[in-house]
């Protein structure tokens, strides 16, 4: 856990000595995504990652909203809650803030998290509830059969936008950073190793970690992330973010721009101006600038952990207040409470 600030993410969750394998995390439910869907790869990556945590299976909970991606909990043999559209962060907030002994995950899609659920997402982020949020971004509404989503590119032709969509998409990383997130990362369905390395840090982080996962929907938005998978160009356009390392792809590098922002230049020209990634910078501004590098789209895409800073988790603070209240005045006594006001006796 080299990059981990504190590694306390799951400190309160009971561990097991029993050896676990991928199989322990497979439920008996048949997986029901379209053949070829990127969700399969993510599921396999998560199932094979979980044993590494060494947690008691019963202390893991997956909470999801509604969407293709939100079916995820059914396929994991942990506790699970397939809730309603957009509300998973709220439901998970109640669970995680009252049960610090649980590892609580939120599974959500770009529609679920950023359209109907946008408000709960940004509030969870600023509160820093102890949650791992995996946002499956396929830039489309899968389950409702292919309308454009808040991450679809402008001009997208879909069933609901036959002449093209009009709205500028959200950049989930920028939005999260604007919402005071303490942990923000991006990875991709097809790169299991990277995906798992991000999950490793996300689970080690105590607080809300938002992991955007580029996910291919081969039915309604096939090849949305093709450039990042294309062996021809992939290494040139992928800027890997690793804390303490220069930010560069095979051929490009990130440097400071004259106007206070960031620029991408040919690696050869960069020299020692290459920006070294500081994921732990308390100021999210550089992380934000990094998140803007892929505007308009996919010329150079930062992948990895944009931001990872320590901040007390909401449930910790909440628990501390309860403890403090007891420390100050002793545990609550119902009889005392009732008798506590101005009372008088009759008879």
């Amino acid at each position: 856990m080299s990059d981990t600030l504190n590694g306390k993410g799951l400190a309160l969750v009971p561990k097991t000595d029993a050896k676990q394998t991928l199989k322990d995390f497979k439920s008996d439910q048949e997986v029901r995504w379209c053949p070829g869907c990127g969700d399969y790869a993510i599921l396999a990556a998560v199932q094979s990652f979980l044993p590494e945590l060494g947690l008691r299976r019963e202390n893991i909970v997956f909470v999801s909203g509604i969407g293709c991606s939100s079916r995820f909990p059914y396929y994991l043999d942990t506790y699970g809650f397939h809730s309603i559209h957009g509300r998973a962060p709220a439901i998970a907030t109640g669970l995680a803030s009252s049960r610090p002994d649980l590892s609580v995950w939120v599974i959500t899609g770009d529609g679920d998290a950023l359209s109907i659920g946008g408000n709960h997402l940004i509030h969870a982020l600023r509160r820093n509830v102890n949650l791992n949020i995996l946002l499956f971004n396929n830039r489309i509404y899968g389950l409702t059969k292919g309308q454009y989503s808040p991450t679809s590119e402008i001009g997208k032709i879909t069933k609901s936008t036959p002449m093209g969509s009009l709205d500028k998409p959200f950049n989930p990383i920028s939005l999260a950073l604007g919402a005071e997130a303490s942990f923000v990362a991006r990875t991709i369905d097809s790169d299991r190793k990277h995906l798992q390395s991000v999950l490793r840090e996300a689970t080690a982080h105590r607080g809300t970690s938002l992991v955007e996962i580029y996910q291919n929907c081969n039915i309604f938005n096939d090849n949305a992330f093709e450039q990042l998978k294309d062996p021809e160009i992939r290494d040139d356009i992928t800027l890997r973010l690793e804390h303490g390392q220069p930010i560069a792809s095979a051929s490009k590098a990130v440097v400071r721009a004259a106007n206070g922002g960031l620029d991408v230049v040919p690696l050869a020209e960069a020299g020692d101006r290459v920006l070294v990634h500081d994921a732990h910078n308390p100021d999210p501004s550089v992380a934000f600038a990094l998140s803007r590098l892929d505007e308009p789209a996919f010329e150079h895409v930062p992948i990895g952990i944009f931001r990872q800073v320590e901040r007390p988790a909401y449930d910790t603070l909440m628990a501390e207040q309860l403890e403090e209240a007891v420390a100050q005045k002793g545990p609550g006594d119902l009889s005392d409470l009732l008798m506590g006001g101005d009372t008088w006796r009759i008879g």
Binding site: S27, E58, N59, A90, G94, H120, W344
Partner: protein, 611 residues
Amino acid sequence: MTKQVQQLDRVVIRFAGDSGDGMQLTGDRFTAGTAEFGNDLSTLPNFPAEIRAPAGTLPGVSSFQLHFADHDILTPGDSPNVLVAMNPAALKANLGDLPKGADIIANTDEFTKRNLQKVGYDANPLEDDSLREWRVHAVPLTSLTVTALEGFDLSKKDAERSKNMFALGLLSWLYHRPTEHTISFLEQKFAKKPEIAKANIAAFQAGWNYGETTESFSVSYEVKPAQLAPGVYRNISGNQALAYGLIAASVQSKLPLFLGSYPITPASDILHELSRHKRFGIRTFQAEDEIAGVGAALGAAFGGALGVTTTSGPGVALKAETIGLAVMTELPLILVDVQRAGPSTGMPTKTEQTDLLMAMFGRNGESPVPIVAPSTPSDCFDAAIEAARIAVKYRTPVYLLSDGYLANGSEPWRLPEVSDLPDISTEFAVKTDEEFQPYVRDPETLSRPWAIPGTAGLEHRIGGIEKANGSGNISYDPNNHDLMVRLRQSKIDGIDVPALEVDDPEGDARVLVLGWGSTYGPIAAAVRRIRKSGGKVAQAHLRHLNPLPANTGEVLKSYDKVLLPEINLGQLALLLRAKFLVDIISYNRVRGLPFKAEELAGVIQDVIDSE
């Protein structure tokens, strides 16, 4: 000069002034003194939705009504015997409620030309003859206060602020209220500003002395303590009692309380109260909106907490979708709706009983939810425990329908013994030899197991899609769906609720007055009046609106006529008519105010007479 003392059995006082005049505080203190003295009492605060509307205007008037008596009483009183009017607006806004002959204590200092104009008085009503049918006591409250505080190191403005304490002192004299409590209260409240504390106490005492010495008041009144059942009492508002009931439910169920809520009038005070009792292990979560509030409560319930959400008005509408999810996942959850005048934003500080059908039906699909309604401020305590009992035992969301009148009104409450409170604890599911089935049902209650995360071997997935009975797997099987729709309904229909009790002393009444929720007081007071005047009428009050007590139909059918007053357009009447085909007579007024006993007595008499 020794003044005359007159004995009264009951008095209704109304303090009225500007939002900034401190009328709620004045009323609260008078109430505390009255409670201490041992009268039975009932209060009705009434304030604008604005924080502090412009001084001296009609919308800015805030009032507090208190009814106290030497016997047990049921309502805050139909109409005041005394109105304290701190300015012309307060006079104008309240005069309509004042019976001829009542006392008016008016603060003459504020009856300036400007203030009179602001509310459309052409002439000063204290000076022309227009108030001749009332007993007017013109008292320069402000200047008397300022004079009384001359020795203090206070600006004139600060001195003037104490005029409400002067008024309180005067009224305390007039009704022989004890003074110690108010004095120690002021000392505590202004502990950090001793000069202000002293000034307020001085104003209070000056008011008392003014009554004692001035000629303006020749009579003072005594209302003997009431002969209430023996016990320890405190005065309590509905919101506070409800919060205490939730805490008691948490203790008695051994479940940690989790409140997910978003502030809204008049429910916010429950959030405020609960957030002060963290040493009971209570978590209060001020959410980003009502949806997140109920969502977090449901999430906490999944984790084994007593999940609660509190709201009012439009907030109720926003929670509907998540309540549907709670119905489907069959988890315990308490939904407190402090009903207020609607639709939409409506009149946020006014009361109403218009959310009953929303609670019954306000979700997509067939999604039955039990409903419990308290009948008086202190009953909010017991009703909260009852709601929790049902939620926990039957694994279901439960609606607790309070309202603005109960929420802010108060009455003396005989404290229960904690040892007498019901044990409402439950068992979480544990691993057995059999394969765990999250939707297998208890044969008696039809409830499913509550298997909380952290329990090894019970890992399972729940959600809002239809489930196969037993296994809980997603199911699109038509017959399973029909079965589940009926099982969810049967579970609610089968909840054990006590029989409906009828108060029919001689058993020969032909007319039954039925009610639910906060109309209890006015209905019971009206029934008393009828009986006092020799009329015969039976009374019954529903605390359980869904399911209804098993004997409800029988009770309804055993009277010639059933009268049902509601502060809505007949919502319970609709349910009862549909279920029992009984031609219930509705009486509906939707004025944002509780019924008056006199009004209802008239209606009851009419129904009796039309027999």
